[in-house]
Every structure is written in structure tokens, then in C-alpha cells.
């Protein structure tokens, strides 16, 4: 009962606080509108469809060469222009000079691809095509090893568009700018809950009310649980409002499986609350507030809340920074589910978030029990 009372008080205070309303509701909604309309072009599906220029050095022989030639013919129908490598050329340098978008080296043992940073979308597409082809080729090679007779049919080029279909380009839906930002910014405010969570304990100490709470016949665990619950409820409510608003007013697309979307967001909210709480206990002073907002802003930035980062190199600094951002995990998981119907990543994300949250909550509960006062 005390838990509910404290949780209710926490909600009341949050909704009376103009900062909460501004940061958790007004800010994301306005930003959504601004970024969604301003960057509409960057997301339009036609812009990326320039011819993709690929420099090919074919060192393969036999079946592999035959297979690749078929693939090449198919691809030229879908807007790819292949140019043969001439001796004396430096493939990587050509790509660097932007004479070509990609440089592919085909050998019997595999395909090497040098992509261009300039045209990430084009490189992505080429990479997708080639890996689709490589999969197919491997399958055919396996068949060939087992039953050479069937290998020939397997090497037949796929029907037109067969490779391209693997990508989302041909699917009905591709995230528009508003759709993208609706997801990204909602995830962002879910994580921003960490900032209010960091304040849960500090604000009581600052206002002196910590003394009253501790002096009251309420167990510390109840105070802790009530505060966590209240904070979760507030943040989840904000997330719900933002989703509803973006859906109804901005017509953002949230996919068919809304409950699962909400579950992902709930896991982010739980994670952010635990994160904020744990950090505020660890750092004790008011410095924690600053540090948490910094961390959250960085996570928002690298997670692609303000502008999409596209595909980044896994091992680059940016890649590592991005992969550390819970916003990015959730973003990718949600986009995969909404647009590709692929929910494996969703379950992983929920599990990861819940696990981290459990650890952080346990840690903060432990630190709280060790402390004098709140």
C-alpha cells in the first residue's frame, strides 16, 4: 500500500513538473515534426536509385566464373553498371576518386568488395546483392560436390529480380523520415527516463523530504520500490502519449505488432530507470545528474535519434560507440520488426535490457541498504 502511495506521489510530482512535460512530451513531438519534415528527402525511396557503378576484377574460373557472369547479366537489368578491371588500374584508388561506387574482386574462393563511404546506400545494395549471390553460389557448390549433375541447374541465373528481392527496396514499406523519427525519438525519450530516475533519490535529499521518508514507519525497500514504480509509470505514459500522438497526428507507421513494440519500449524504460538510479547511487552527489544527461545525449546521438547513421563499419570508433547505445539496439530491433517482420532481434533486445536492468536494480538496492538515510 505504501509502495502504491509513494509511486502515486512520484507520478503526481512528475506531471506537475514542467520540465518533465517539456522534455518528455513537447520536445520529442516538436523535434519529430521538424526533423521529419526537414529531412523528408533524405529518406525518399527514389533518391537512392541512381545507377550503381561497380568495377569488377574477375579472377575466377569454371563454374564460379560462369555463375558470376549470369549474376552480372541479371544485375545489369536492375540498374547496376559493371565495368571490367583493366590491368594497371588500382581498384581501391578508383573507388576513392569516386569513379566507381564499388570495387569487387571475384575469385574461386570468394568475393572481396571495397565499398565507398560517399554513397553508403549504393555500397549497401551491392553488398547485399553480392552476399545473396555468394549464398546461392555456395549452395550450388555444395550440391555440385554431392551430385555434379544437378550443379548445372543450380548455377542457372536466378529469375529477374531474384537477388534484389532479398532487400527491402522492393517491399511495400520503407521507413519515411517521419516513421524513422517517430521510432527513434520515442526510444530516445524512453532512455531519457534515466535522467528523472537519477533525480529520484537526490531530489528527496535536496528537498529535505528524505528525512521525513526515512523517519516514517515505511521500509526502505518500499520507498525504493514505490519510486521505481512511479518513475516507470510516468516514463511509460510519456512513451504511450508520444506513440499515440505520432500515430494519430503525424501518421507515423508503427507496424502491425504494437504490443511487441510496447514491450521493447517498456524494456528500454525499465533499463533507463535502473541505469539512472544505479548511477545516482554510485556517484552520490548532484554531479550524477550532469553525467547522466551527457551519457544519455551521447547515446541518443550515436543511436541515431537525431539523424540516421546508416550502416557503419563494425570496428570503427563510431561503430563501437553506436553499438554501445541502447537506443541503437532498440531502434534496429524495432525497425527490423516493423519493416521486415523479423522479431528475433526484438527478443534479444528485451532480454538484454531486462538483464541489465535486473543487475542495475540489484546493485542500487544493495547500495541503498548499505547507506545511512535514503
Amino acid at each position: 500500500m505504501n509502495v502504491i502511495q509513494i509511486a502515486f506521489k512520484e507520478m503526481l510530482l512528475s506531471f506537475r513538473n514542467r520540465r518533465t512535460l517539456f522534455f518528455m512530451l513537447a520536445f520529442p513531438l516538436v523535434l519529430m515534426l521538424v526533423l521529419g519534415t526537414a529531412l523528408a528527402n533524405a529518406f525518399s525511396t527514389t533518391a537512392a536509385m541512381d545507377t550503381v557503378r561497380v568495377l569488377v576484377q574477375d579472377q575466377s574460373s569454371g563454374a564460379a566464373q560462369q555463375g558470376f557472369a549470369g549474376f552480372r547479366a541479371e544485375m545489369e537489368k536492375s540498374g547496376f553498371a559493371f565495368t571490367d578491371f583493366k590491368p594497371g588500374m588500382d581498384g581501391a584508388a578508383e573507388v576513392e576518386k569516386n569513379n566507381y561506387d564499388d570495387y569487387a574482386v571475384v575469385t574461386n574462393s570468394g568475393i572481396k568488395l571495397y565499398g565507398s563511404d560517399r554513397n553508403a546506400v549504393a555500397s549497401n545494395m551491392t553488398q547485399g546483392m553480392l552476399s545473396a549471390y555468394a549464398d546461392r553460389y555456395n549452395a550450388a557448390a555444395a550440391i555440385g560436390a554431392a551430385d555434379p549433375a544437378k550443379a548445372a541447374t543450380a548455377f542457372q541465373p536466378a529469375p529477374s529480380g531474384g537477388y534484389v528481392k532479398e532487400l527491402s527496396l522492393d517491399l511495400d514499406r520503407m521507413p519515411g523520415s517521419m516513421d524513422y523519427y517517430a521510432v527513434a525519438l520515442t526510444v530516445m525519450i524512453a532512455l531519457w527516463g534515466a535522467m528523472s530516475a537519477a533525480n529520484l533519490v537526490n531530489s528527496e535529499i535536496r528537498q529535505g523530504t528524505a528525512a521525513r521518508l526515512v523517519a516514517a514507519p515505511v521500509r526502505k525497500g518500499e520507498i525504493f520500490a514505490g519510486k521505481v514504480l512511479g518513475n516507470l509509470a510516468v516514463n511509460m505514459l510519456c512513451v504511450l502519449v508520444v506513440i499515440t500522438f505520432s500515430k494519430v497526428v503525424y501518421h507515423a507507421y508503427w507496424g502491425d505488432n504494437l504490443p511487441l513494440v510496447l514491450l521493447v519500449l517498456l524494456s528500454v524504460v525499465v533499463l533507463s530507470t535502473s541505469l539512472g538510479l544505479a548511477l545516482s547511487y554510485l556517484l552520490k552527489s548532484s554531479a550524477s545528474g550532469g553525467l547522466i544527461s551527457l551519457a544519455v545525449q551521447l547515446a541518443s546521438f550515436f543511436g541515431g535519434a537525431y539523424f540516421p547513421l546508416g550502416v557503419v563499419e563494425k570496428n570503427s570508433l563510431l561503430g563501437i560507440a553506436a553499438s554501445l547505445s541502447p537506443i541503437r539496439w532498440a531502434n534496429m530491433a524495432l525497425n527490423n520488426m516493423i519493416y521486415l517482420g523479423d522479431s528475433t532481434q526484438v527478443i534479444q533486445t528485451i532480454g538484454l535490457n531486462a538483464g541489465l536492468a535486473a543487475l542495475l536494480l540489484a546493485a542500487s538496492a544493495y547500495m541503498m541498504s548499505k547507506r545511512e538515510g535514503l
Binding site: E222, T344, I347, G351, G355, A358, L361, A365
Partner: protein, 374 residues
Amino acid sequence: MQLWTMGNKLLALAFIMASAYFADVTAAHSSLLMLLALLYIALSMSVRLLGPINAKTGAIGAVVLFLLAASAYGSPLFVLLLPFSACELAFLHGRRRAMLQAGSLLPLLFLRDGLLAGYIFVAVAAWFHYLLYSAQLMKAIGFEEELDRLRMKQERLARRLSDGQELQRSSEYTHKLEERNRLSQEIHDGVGHSMTGALIQMEAAKRLLARDPERAGQLLDNAIGISKGAIEEIRLTLHRLKPPTEQLGMSRLREKVESFGMSSGLQAGVSGSGDLESIGPLYWKIIQDNVTESLTNVLKYSGATAVHVEVSVLKRYIKAVVTDNGRGKDKIVKGLGLKGMEERAASVGGTVVADGSRGFSVTTLLPYGDKPAQ
């Protein structure tokens, strides 16, 4: 109990995850397992957070149901975690231990060979730990009670000690009475007899004065001799009884402080106010010891150039203050010296206050006379 079970649970969980992983490595399944494991951790945590015994029981019930569901739909290995929940229940409801023990054997009926051995092992280990822990807990409670008993005993002894001090004071009084008694006895035995003898001789001389002046003169000479002896005896007695004045009181204190000033090179002064005569020897002893101790400290730590000792007799308190003009100290750490002074003062119900705000001062406050009613 909680730490024990938590450790056990984590070990078992790790074992389950590991064996599940090696048995079946499809991605979807392992992420489901991960989710279940994390949910289990979260649920177990919630048991810790809940307060009342009924809520705890309910939560453990939920964990049991969850485990049953998880072993049905996730991995049968989850059944291995059941005995821990049974132990937790047993810990909450000690009396139904046997029933719970039997209950935790129930799943044996449904288990296959491989799991059967594992389950028996886990169940036995869990119950073994539980019994061990319960035994230790009983022991700890026993110690607690023992401690309480000892504490009470100590209190009783302390009271007896203070009674003893009361006794000491009253015996001091008896001692004084005895002293007086001895004094009067001595006067009676020695001087009294001599004077009686002299008186008789003088009486006889008076009668003989007219008849036999020569004899009378002889008698008078005798009387004079006896009287002289008696006076000498009185002087001796008094000398024997009288304590040397310089050993007591203000003059002795002054002498001490002055000699301290000489040897240390500090400016040292003494002043007194109020009815110094009324300070009893016991009190002088305390004052002198504390002043000496304080002076030593002044020399050791203060860096002062002057020190002043003031003894004042208030209406119901005696106050002795040693003040220096040294560097003082903001937060005073009590050393052995201060503690010794406190103990001396406490023997007559007084206190010692050290203050380092302006130079350093040590005030000894001793209540005396009719104390204010408590």
C-alpha cells in the same frame, strides 16, 4: 539465507544455461532461454523486495508457476530450480518444512533418467544448505540473546560500581569520624592526664603556701614542668595530625602551574574565584590531575605561548579551565589523555569539554553540594 540461496540459484542457473546451450544451439531457442533466465532472476529479485510474509509467499508461488511453465515450454532443465523455491518457502513457514520437503520430491515422478539424477542432486544440495543455514541462524539468535544477557549483567555491575562509589564516599566520612575520635582520645590520654596531674599539684601548693612555702614552691615547679611537657605534647600531636598545607588546594596548584611555566618557557598563570575553601580533597585531586594532563597536552600540541588556568566555584558546580592561545583544532579527536580526564571527572558525575575554536581549552565541570534533582 538470501545470499546462500541466491548463490545456489545462480550456480544452478549457470549450469542450466550451459547445458541447454550445449544441447541445442539454435539462435531463437537460446534467446528464449536467455529471456526465461533473466525473467527468473527478475522474479527472484522481486521476492527479496517484497515485505510482508504473505506477499513473499505469493511471489515465491509465482516463481514456482513460472518455473513449471518454463520447464514445459522452454527447457525441462528449469525444473532444477524448484527445490530452491521450496527451501525459501520452508524458511518462511518453518513448521511445514516436512511437507515442503516431500513436495519438492514430487517432480521426480515426471522426470526422465538424465534429469532425474540432476534433480535429486540439486534437491539434496538445496535442502542440505537450508538445514545448515537454519542451524547457523538458531545459533546466531542464541548468541544475540547471550549478548543481551551480558549487556544486562554489565549494566547491573555498573550500577553496583556506582553504589560502591557512594559507599566509598560514606566511608570517607566514617574515616573522618574515626580520625576525630582518635584525636580526642589522644588529647584525653596524654594532655588530659598531664593537666589533671598539674592541677592536683597546684591545688596542693595553694594549701601549703602559707604553712610551708618551700614545699609549695617545689610543687609549683612540678606543675610547671608537667604543663610544659603537656604543651609540647599538644604541639607534637597537632603537628602529627595536620596535613602539610602545600599539598592541598590553590597554593599547590599555583606552585605546579608556575613550575610548569618555568620549565616550559610558556607564560602560565592561575586565577581562582568563588569559595575555593569549599573544594574537598577528592575534588582538588581531580582538578590537579586534569590540569596537569592539560598542561602536558598544551606543551605537546598547541604551539601556544601562554596558558591560563582558572578555577571557579559556582553555586553548584566547580569549574576548572585550562586555556591556551595556540592554534586550536576544529574537529577534536579524543586521545587517551582526554579520555582519562573524562573518566576522572565522571567518577564524581562531572564532564570534560574540550573546545578548539579559539586556541584550545579544556573545561572540567564537577557538580558538588546539593545537585539539581534529576
